[in-house]
Symmetry: C2
Subunit: 361 residues, 2 copies
Amino acid sequence: MKRARNFSAGPAILPESVLEKVQSEMLSYRDSGMSVMEMSHRSSLFEEIISDAEQLLRELMNIPEGYKVLFLQGGASLQFSMIPMNLGKGGKVGYINSGSWAKKAISEAKILKVPNMEVLASSEEDNFTYIPEIPETDEAYDYIHITTNNTIEGTAFQTIPRFVNAPIVADMSSNILSNRYDVNDFGLIYAGAQKNIGPAGLTIVIVKEDLIQTENKLPSMLDYRTHIKNDSLYNTPPSFSIYVAKLVFEWLKDLGGVEAMVKMNEEKAGLLYRTIEESDLFSSPVAVNSRSLTNIPFVTGNKDLDAKFVKEATSLGFLNLKGHRSVGGMRASIYNAFPYEGVKELTEFMKAFEAKEGKFK
Amino acid sequence: MKRARNFSAGPAILPESVLEKVQSEMLSYRDSGMSVMEMSHRSSLFEEIISDAEQLLRELMNIPEGYKVLFLQGGASLQFSMIPMNLGKGGKVGYINSGSWAKKAISEAKILKVPNMEVLASSEEDNFTYIPEIPETDEAYDYIHITTNNTIEGTAFQTIPRFVNAPIVADMSSNILSNRYDVNDFGLIYAGAQKNIGPAGLTIVIVKEDLIQTENKLPSMLDYRTHIKNDSLYNTPPSFSIYVAKLVFEWLKDLGGVEAMVKMNEEKAGLLYRTIEESDLFSSPVAVNSRSLTNIPFVTGNKDLDAKFVKEATSLGFLNLKGHRSVGGMRASIYNAFPYEGVKELTEFMKAFEAKEGKFK
Ligand SMILES: Cc1ncc(COP(=O)(O)O)c(C=O)c1O
Ligand SMILES: Cc1ncc(COP(=O)(O)O)c(C=O)c1O
Ligand SMILES: [Mg+2]
Ligand SMILES: [Mg+2]
Ligand SMILES: [Mg+2]
Ligand SMILES: [Mg+2]
């Protein structure tokens, strides 16, 4: 069974050993005679899975006490609304407009008519090709929202801004567990699972409990307090996705945790960025000081040649290299589970393609 | 690999052939070199899966034009809030309080301060042991909400009420595709997938498009119009669960569709109800004219004996027979995928247990 070189931005490649484990347990998890898909979420077998998953994530990210870990549904997109509902206390809220997803977060806050919303910095006028400079402030904000890694544009915050009176809320969908972060720098971290963690349909929220508003009664499913009180088992959770996430966390831990992963990701991304830099055909649209470790766009500057590259790459088994429709060109998403070997093969193909086609640029 | 007799109320047993298919495609779906878990939801491979899933469901339920089929996240519990948000137009709304889940739907509508809400009928005073009589009305309601099958209490509507000026909204979580229904009798049908359809984390909504309100701007993820406009691909859907659902729909169609399933379910439930009726030890707490085909509670009338029954059953591989904590006793959930043979074995065990323990009642 030949596995693809799958550069998808999400849902994305998962560790082969995890898929093999899932496969082997499909009809009977630990001799239970049931698939995890078939297990009551109130069973002791499943309760062990979800509590192991939480414990492993706490270990991997070094999550301090006072922070709750929630396993939710709805994707990162539902968090765009749940965050203002749960953390907004009528004070100011700030947003950094660093990419297409940040912009969606902003527009959802607007739909909720969040009072006192400010966009504190933006790189939209330059097509989000860099992380904008964030002004210092000691004013109080209920929260300031950032997108640590901008999946579509391939930019990432290199340092997390700190404010005295404003907790940082971070959409970490596309680089959770891929970059080194100190959870203490954040009031809330959220991420859709479908890039670095597991199947789509699971959303991780890590929230400092004392930031949550207690004034407004919210729909139960949209209220973090509901899920905190019920250990993410208020209603039926996306149990199978949580099980796969647990296996991914185990895989990650076995490989040496986030530290080891960052090293590998730096090697993978380093190789690809070097190839792009050294090439006369390919270039990066992203400012050098803003580059992502996980999502790496590149272009030839010629749309037809881009299309030709993607087509030939696809026929060779390098899948999903087409850039997002809003950006064009190519994008290689190389999350934790993407092997170094695959990046190496891609760079070799890029060189071969350049030797053959570079002159037609 | 011995498979359990899994009577779980949800997540629940799935067809063995579906699990085997999922297993065989785990590392490479149709020679793609990718698991469905790893596939971009914008890929043609996945688009085929979701559109096949919709097509199959439309066929199985005979869903008329004018009704949209949505694949959402958040469980049936999130629909308790999305329904009043999306169908409430400021007119009256009615609820039938027929069980614990119906009651939750009511309490979520209250949280939203839905104006003009009326509970039109209730059997709560009698522990929800029957479906309450529903008063006729020709007054206008934005909708009237019913729970076709009350999972916890084991009751089901035997006929769907019809009103001239009030579309019926139905929580069909625990008997969608298990009972015979005419979609035309409903304005909206919703169901969590984890009983009759697939893994938890997927919610099906079938909605008559012209009932949706257009006055209020809602958070995008909570707005049916968002998902209609984007064919359930506004954000990353629970793609793997949709894939499993598709396989379950195929399995169901191969077996002869809902008609065939109803016949099998009547045989399974008939056998169990007969056994309960004929027994001096076991009895059903549910009124004869309100009984569910899919969730069948029974009791000995003696808590210790109930516990003993559940314990011995468990040791013999009859799993998850313990009744819901709010009701006690036993409950056998026998959804579409639960085999007749398993019900037969259970009834034989019940008889053996009665022969041995009946005298201690
Ligand atoms: C940074 C970021 N935020 C949010 C989203 C939206 O996530 P979801 O599809 O889970 O709603 C994505 C999806 O790719 C993303 O990359
Ligand atoms: C009839 C009914 N409605 C709603 C629910 C809640 O569903 P979920 O857990 O998907 O939110 C259930 C769950 O068992 C149910 O049986
Ligand atoms: Mg972006
Ligand atoms: Mg270059
Ligand atoms: Mg109920
Ligand atoms: Mg009896």
